[in-house]
């Protein structure tokens, strides 16, 4: 199915609509999705996402194409929110569809693990009126490495 795979990549300041994204993915017998939410803990009032326009979309498209190729997916989606957002809002959505559930589940995990290290986004938290840039985590490198 990878010849006609549907790849959907979007970097947006708008809220992520999971119902729309789910329907876009329903191309195979098995659909797996991952959604990351802004944590409400640690007193974070606002999260701001900066990105590298142009390079971001290219990186996400390459990642989706790699997943489609590796797991013969029928569809792959990566949606990433940018700009200011509030606790509980959706930051990121990844999804994969395949004829087989193991392929969909693995590809979905691959997309979110690799996105964390391979796509140019930067998080800035506003806590008590003070902004601070979020530090990258070694655990994200390790999670991404298991797919290499």
């Amino acid at each position: 199915m990878s010849d006609q795979a549907i790849i959907r990549v979007l970097v947006t300041t708008e809220a992520i609509d999971v119902a729309v994204e789910q329907i876009a993915l329903e191309q195979g017998g098995a659909v797996a999705t991952f959604t990351g939410l802004v944590r409400a803990d640690d007193g974070v009032a606002t999260l701001e996402l900066e990105h590298y326009p142009g390079a971001t979309e290219a990186a996400l498209t390459r990642l989706a194409e790699e997943a489609v190729e590796r797991w013969s997916l029928s569809a792959a989606s990566i949606i990433h929110r940018v700009g200011p957002m509030q606790p509980g809002e959706r930051i990121v959505f990844t999804g994969a569809a395949s004829a087989h559930r193991a392929a969909a589940l693995e590809a979905c995990a691959f997309l979110i693990d690799r996105l964390k290290t391979d796509a140019p986004f930067w998080k800035r938290e506003v806590v008590g009126g003070e902004g601070r840039w979020v530090e990258a985590r070694d655990s994200d490198d390790h999670a991404a490495d298991r797919w290499r």
Binding site: L115, K116, P120, W122, A136
Partner: protein
Amino acid sequence: MQLLYFAWVRERIGLGAEEVDPPVTIATVADLIAWLSSRSDGHAAAFADPARLRAAIDQAFVPLDTSVVGAREVAIFPPVTGG
């Protein structure tokens, strides 16, 4: 050569982008970073610890020892934290 800065690199320099014309002795991204450090206190602060910096040449991630010869756009930024 077009330079782009993101996150705290951008904030410390006080610029998101600038056009520069480095001398021919500047071979790699690391050379470029060292050379840029003398442009202002902000540049010096942003580039004080190159181990904390990452780069892209013409929108592709590269190690800091990559050649910048012929590069049109070089971006310098902290490790990414999306997702």
